[in-house]
Symmetry: C2
């Protein structure tokens, strides 16, 4: 369970958070100052896209809020490649077979860095470079898990896996049950899981009727039976 959407709303606080996450708290040395002068601080409103300044690769540090990284295929098809929350570092490729855009799910405070220069500074600061490597490997791990989900799981397994994985990141305990306040819409979930909104909806109702979850409003989901969800997530287990 991670630190949630603490309102941050400020350039100073955003840099502080960046220093704590990427520089092990050293908020006064020369590397820090160089990172600071390289960064572009932005406040992004919910629904807006992080502007694509130049045509270079970028790192975006998310100081507060939640975002989605969207890849576009031909025919306007969109795939949500990842969701991000406070303290996440997002790597955004400039170009490729698919166009990438980072969109805010909630109001966000972000720091935007050009990748090349960022990595040059990082090379003088092993802690930061190690942090980049660690985070990249972790993102890779998440992406691989998603590949399994997209390649081999049924609609129901995808929803169950999504709920479990999301609970780990932004779930909170309330009266014994795990409660999620999802910042993303059904369409975002569908685009993330390779489904349609209709299918997502249907699976939510099915899980509800099975007594595994309860929903209230558009965004709140209570996980009533986590073991039951895991059993239906298609995850590999020794007992399978």
């Amino acid at each position: 369970m991670a630190t949630q959407t603490e309102k941050c709303a400020g350039e100073a606080q955003s840099f502080e958070r960046f220093g704590a996450a990427m520089l092990s708290g050293k908020v006064s040395d020369s590397a820090y100052l160089r990172f600071q002068s390289l960064a572009a601080y932005r406040q992004i409103n919910a629904g807006e896209t992080v502007p694509n300044m130049d045509l270079a690769d970028r790192f975006v540090f998310l100081a507060s809020g939640a975002t989605k990284l969207v890849a576009e295929a031909s025919g306007g098809r969109e795939q949500v490649v990842a969701f991000h929350f406070a303290d996440d570092l997002v790597s955004i490729p400039a170009r490729g077979p698919h166009g990438y855009t980072l969109r805010a799910l909630t109001d966000c405070d972000i720091l935007v860095f050009p990748s090349l220069e960022f990595m040059q500074i990082a090379h003088t600061e092993p802690v930061t470079l190690g942090e980049v490597a660690r985070r990249a490997l972790h993102a890779l791990w998440r992406c691989r898990e998603k590949a399994v989900l997209l390649g081999r799981k049924t609609a129901q397994e995808r929803i169950a896996s999504f709920l479990i994985a999301t609970a780990r990141r932004i779930g909170s305990i309330e009266r014994g049950a795990c409660v999620l306040s999802l910042p993303m819409s059904r369409r975002d979930i569908a685009d993330s899981l390779g489904l349609t909104t209709e299918t997502v909806s249907r699976q939510f109702t099915d899980l509800r009727q099975m007594g595994l979850i309860a929903t209230s409003g558009r965004s709140e989901v209570r996980l009533l039976d986590i073991a039951g969800l895991v059993a239906r997530s298609g995850n590999f287990s020794i007992a399978a």
Copy 2:
């Protein structure tokens, strides 16, 4: 077009390759020696699995040959998460929702490192640490492209995308056309693209009948019309 399956077959050559790739050629300093004493050199025959020594995360450096990283979901369903070729560094998580195994597609020379200790040494060698970060980000980029493919593309688009992406890695030019000698079976391709062998087969025949590719034997594929393949790959383009 990368350096292909140069037979390497030897512990010394494997370490040399590792040094060239990860230490910018410095094959005599202390970090190199520490990496060397940490590594386990192995020759793996085609079809065999890289043994899962202990229960820790591992890095595998592939000095020669080709491998696939397979994730297992429940019910024996397998997803090929990535293919690797000479000089690739593979990060293998110990545990998680899905079990990971690295299997050799051809005979391989590999170096196996425990991740934790590897990263500790890397922290004293910025070049290596930067290389880990660079490679992890590149692997992440590939995995994201795969997520788009698995989430939003038709069977035909998946095959076309696969052929184009694979040509970039191991394609060779022969009399004007690009020729692939695929080290993986139809089942491997299917498990990589989230399809069945039957569907892969059918799409190969379709592309053959369209005159976009020609095949001979099990493994050789000639790309006769790369522009045509790109047009059918579902990739985002401005003209879409």
